[in-house]
Symmetry: C2
Subunit: 294 residues, 2 copies
């Protein structure tokens, strides 16, 4: 097993330690795929928002495809389809870059992959992909977490050299549970308290109970960094670092908050043995075998 | 039993019918306690927001009193104290106008009672009072509802001649679960589907499952009226009509969203026999015996 650069869930005490990895792995030049202002913001805040990267027609096609998925009884019975804990409403569909031709092509779209490659400094592959629904009226909150903490502990991702790209399929605002982020929190690593139970993912994809930050640390970090809300129109794209603390509230408005998520990881940062005592999570949640540079 | 002007929970089909009662029971003159613009807004939208009605010093005193209540082990064991369904965190304390000297005096403060008397057209009493916490990190959503529907069916309030006055004790914004309202929805009455179970209040104060609007009606009314979010600083006061549809999302931010609530009802609109087959709810939720004009 590799040296564990970011221990977590090994102690009854949370710790906050400095990030040991870069955020931006390329030098900003005139040839960068987005403005230096945006890249500097990504480096500083751990996220950036690109308005209107996809056209209304493209978004309409994505939404049409989702409507079909929602009615796909066979899909709903697969582990890739995750439902809400209480209502049974569809919450997420995983591995859409492998199992859906339209979303597979979106995963390779140069408008996003050029940016991912630039930020991560070279060839990347998809560590995880999913559709997130947060349906109107019934969508529940997703509690604060660093993706990296989970990907490190449960998947064995060695370093912070990954990012999420979220394509907004509906208008996202604070009222319908837009993603909230703590800008700057990606520069520190917050370890979590406690252990990782067996098959944690079966529960954690619905409602996370392990690998979540403790109250005192969250209070401290929210005080230090503040909380931004990623409000933007459908077709906009949010890029955020793998270690930026984020979460979202419930959605009692009738307007669904649906997003496509693609997680890009650098080819030199492939997952290894998980940094916990459990076996790796399944391939549809964390690519381990079928790694292909895009 | 009085004629049931607003039947609900008697059918398997929701109905939307016009309001039969006025909203504003006084004529707007120069002597009104607030501007005609605000009163016209209340009439039209079913709510109005008065910034900074209470001073920072007053708010500090209220918050100090609440801190004491949160640590009051004896209080926490009374039915007046309602906890969150999952976390056990304090969610509400009822009947604060009777059981707490500071909040009893706030309930009589002319800055709010003059407005309540003006809108409702005469002498009023307190039908219900409560502290609502929505604690940071753990606060859960409160689903869409018309207060009047519950007060009518479960308490026997005959007509729409009541209002809520919410004094904001912390800054309320969309991120920490500020109240959302459908402006104009108070002009229609939405009946709910199904029955009222015995002792419904024991569950409904934590999480409402009966007397909640159906999905199709909510979609329709949100489309028709839109959704406003009552964002305002601590010390501001929100007045809203008893029939305005409202609700709030969860609060994963560390900032609590705490409000004082006083429900004023006109003396001619005292509660009678409930308009359902159940006995009345307890006095601490709905004043029935101890009615005093204020």
């Amino acid at each position: 097993m590799l040296n564990d650069a970011y221990p977590s869930r090994q102690d009854q005490q949370a710790t906050i330690t400095p990030r040991q990895d870069p955020v931006l792995y390329s030098e900003i030049t005139e040839n960068a795929p987005v403005t230096s202002e945006l890249l500097e913001q990504f480096e500083r805040q751990g996220y950036m928002l690109l308005p209107d990267l996809f056209s209304p027609n493209e978004v309409a096609a994505f939404l049409h495809a989702i409507k079909t998925l929602e009615q796909d009884e066979a899909l709903l019975k697969t582990p890739q389809a995750v439902t809400e804990a209480n209502s049974g409403a569809l919450r997420s569909v995983f591995q859409i870059h492998e199992n859906h031709s339209l979303f597979a092509s979106v995963a390779k779209d140069a408008r996003i992959t050029d940016i991912a490659r630039f930020i991560l400094g070279g060839d990347v592959y998809i560590h995880q992909s999913r559709l997130n629904f947060k349906p109107g009226l019934k969508g529940k909150e997703f509690y604060w977490h660093s993706d990296f903490e989970t990907w490190h502990v449960e998947d064995g991702m060695p370093h912070m050299r990954a990012l999420s790209c979220s394509i907004l399929l509906t208008d996202n605002n604070a009222k319908n549970g837009a993603l909230m982020l703590m800008p700057g929190s990606h520069k520190e690593y917050l370890s979590c308290i406690g252990d990782t139970p067996k098959d944690n993912y079966l529960q954690s994809l619905k409602q996370q109970e392990f690998g979540i930050p403790d109250d005192a640390s969250l209070n401290h970090l929210a005080q230090k960094y503040g909380i931004d809300c990623a409000e933007a129109k459908a077709g906009s794209v949010l890029f955020f670092d793998c270690n930026t603390l984020h979460g979202s509230n419930s959605n009692i408005t009738p307007d669904p908050r649906s997003n496509l998520f693609f997680v890009f990881n650098h080819m030199n940062n492939k997952v290894t043995t998980p940094f916990c005592a459990q076996p790796p999570r399944p391939e549809f949640i964390a690519t381990r075998n079928n790694i292909k540079a895009i």
